[in-house]
């Protein structure tokens, strides 16, 4: 068989083809390499770490001076030295002290990397909370929104009114206000309904809110399905419920992915609002590092992390879309 020259050219360049096909993935990989390589390069030996700990810390431990223990910085330094084998603490030690080591030797770009290395663990912790909150609340919001969407299209008036009212309320008031109300207002109004945990409060507020937004997406997707599908299902004797769950809703998946990806990225950034109930998400961590070190470059680092997260999830949603396409 003769091959098309264009095909041949494509075949001869598998690497370029890969790069063209997975642009975002390549960018993420490059970004990760840019973060990881300096980290690996700046990890000093164990001896260097121990020697880098100020002598006064070690002396303090020997004295067991209870008053000095109240100083959080010193206490954590001691903790680090003691549990040097515990993986979690070692991570802090390695990164933190590594930063210190470079910090004393250089400035300029090296200083930036030193700071970067120092900040990264707490920034990543913040990012973890942000991602966790986003995934859980969008997932729960999606489930909630299916019922809201079906309710809004229901022929039973009270259900329809409730769902209309719900969507009107949660789309019409600021998420910030809903968060305030849930965390600060509700315990004062009804003490029995106090939410015990900050994360739980944020999760509830975000779920209720994104449920309202996704409900409209789902309703639009359902109504975009060809009327003939409903008729065919009815002619075959399927009930309303069977029609919805077996015929209509599965067809909306692919159409739902772009608006859901949108919603996901919105929530990811709205998660910064949780700082008002003192939840340490990425934005709050960033700002507290900024206020304590007076170094604005942390903003850049933080924004890069946001971009990496967004890029990864865009890629995931993109491949989901491909997977659900049957056309």
């Amino acid at each position: 068989m003769k091959e098309n020259p264009a095909v041949e050219e494509k075949k001869s360049n598998p690497f370029l083809r890969f790069v063209k096909k997975h642009k975002i993935l390549v960018i993420v990989i490059i970004a990760l390499i840019a973060i990881i390589v300096p980290l690996v390069c700046t990890v000093p030996s164990k001896e260097a770490l121990v020697s880098a700990i100020p002598q006064e810390f070690i002396e303090l431990e020997a004295k067991k001076d209870s008053e000095s223990y109240q100083n959080i910085g010193i206490m954590s330094a001691l903790k680090m030295q003691k549990q040097i084998n515990s993986a979690d603490v070692r991570q802090y030690l390695v990164l933190g002290v590594a930063g210190q080591v470079i910090d004393t030797t250089g400035n300029g770009f090296a200083e930036f990397w030193a700071n970067f290395v120092n900040w990264l663990p707490s920034l990543l912790n913040g990012a973890k909370l942000t991602i966790l909150l986003t995934i859980s609340s969008v997932a729960a919001g999606l489930i909630l929104s299916v019922f809201l969407a079906l309710g809004k299209m229901s022929k039973i008036k009270p259900i329809q009114w409730f769902c209309r009212g719900y969507i009107f309320f949660f789309r019409g008031t600021p998420l910030l206000m809903q968060l305030y109300f849930l965390w600060f207002g509700l315990p004062k109004l009804i003490p029995a309904m106090t939410i015990p945990d900050r994360f739980l409060a944020a999760f509830i507020a975000f779920t209720l809110n994104s449920g309202a937004y996704c409900a409209e997406n789902i309703r639009a997707a359902i109504q975009s399905i060809d009327k003939g599908q409903f008729e065919a299902a009815k002619a075959l004797g399927l009930s309303y419920g069977q029609t919805m769950w077996k015929i209509i809703i599965p067809q909306t998946y692919r159409r739902l992915i772009p608006p859901t990806a949108n919603e996901f990225i919105m929530v990811l950034k709205d998660a910064a609002l949780t700082s008002i109930i003192a939840l340490d998400d990425l934005s709050r961590v960033t700002n507290s590092i900024m206020t304590s070190t007076n170094n604005v470059s942390v903003y850049i680092v933080s924004m890069i992390i946001y971009l990496v997260i967004t890029a990864v999830f865009s890629k995931i949603f993109g491949s989901l879309e491909k997977r659900f396409s049957y056309e």
Partner: protein, 254 residues
């Protein structure tokens, strides 16, 4: 036993009267074709038979069971939704635009309703589904998604899907109107085979050749009313109604 009987069936969309006093009886094993200009109410009549449209006035029997006796949209007889549903399951419907479920494979399309609605055994249904696919000549397409098929193939799948519910009669709503001309034949052939097997069929069609060849009776509809019911020989060669004559002239002389 008559399969379908309508008496003075009327359908209004607001002030617009789409069907006016349509009375027709279809016996078992009969093939009846509905012809007429567009907007005559042929499709609406067919759709009101299996309750895709709710009739405004008139009576409707399915297998001699009175399902509707409506006056101004209110049903005068008491019938549970289950009873009505049971009677309507005996009617298979084929649409102009096929309306296959695009997210299911051909086999899943065919098996869905018998398994979920009729609660049939899955293995038995699959056997029947494959048999029907064989009958419509698409056995090799069982695991393909509908969008990969041509219009004619999709319509044949749609016929198999309706047949898998093992209905006693089939309604066809312009089954070949959305097809490319060269694909019309394969669908009509399947329908001819079905008629030869003794299936009761009501077909809305613009295929005059098919109506002439296959049907036992032809119904001419005009502006929402049934103007003439006759055997194809009489209707196509020597129509009684002046309107029928005009319609046939305009259609056959194109």
């Amino acid at each position: 036993m008559s399969m379908i009987k309508t008496e003075k069936l009327c359908k209004d969309f607001g002030d617009l009267k789409v069907l006016k006093d349509c009375s027709l009886t279809v016996e078992q094993g009969e093939v009846v074709c509905l012809i007429g200009p567009s907007g005559a109410g042929k499709s609406t009549y067919l759709r009101s038979l299996n309750h895709l449209e709710t009739i405004t006035n008139g009576k409707l029997w399915v297998e001699d069971k009175l399902l509707d006796d409506r006056i101004n949209g209110v049903n005068q007889i008491k019938i549970t939704p289950q009873e009505r549903q049971q009677a309507l399951l005996e009617m298979g419907m084929v649409f102009q635009r096929f309306n296959l479920f695009p997210h299911l494979t051909v086999l899943e399309n065919i098996m869905l309703a018998p398994v979920t609605v009729r609660k049939r055994d899955k293995a038995e249904t699959e056997e029947l589904a494959r048999e029907l696919l064989n009958k419509v000549g698409l056995i090799d397409k069982a695991d393909v998604y509908p969008t990969k098929l041509s219009g004619g193939q999709q319509q044949r799948v749609a016929i198999a899907r309706a047949l898998c519910m093992q209905p006693k009669m089939m309604l066809f709503d312009e089954p070949t109107s959305a097809l490319d001309p060269e694909l019309v034949g394969e669908v009509l052939q399947v329908m001819k085979n079905l008629a030869a097997d003794g299936m009761t069929m009501i077909v809305v069609t613009h295929e005059m050749g098919f109506a002439k060849e296959v049907s036992d009776r032809v119904v001419f509809m005009y502006q929402g009313a049934i103007l003439e019911v006759n055997s194809p020989d009489v209707l196509f060669t020597n129509p009684e109604n002046e309107r029928t004559k005009q319609f046939l002239q305009s259609v056959l002389n194109v």
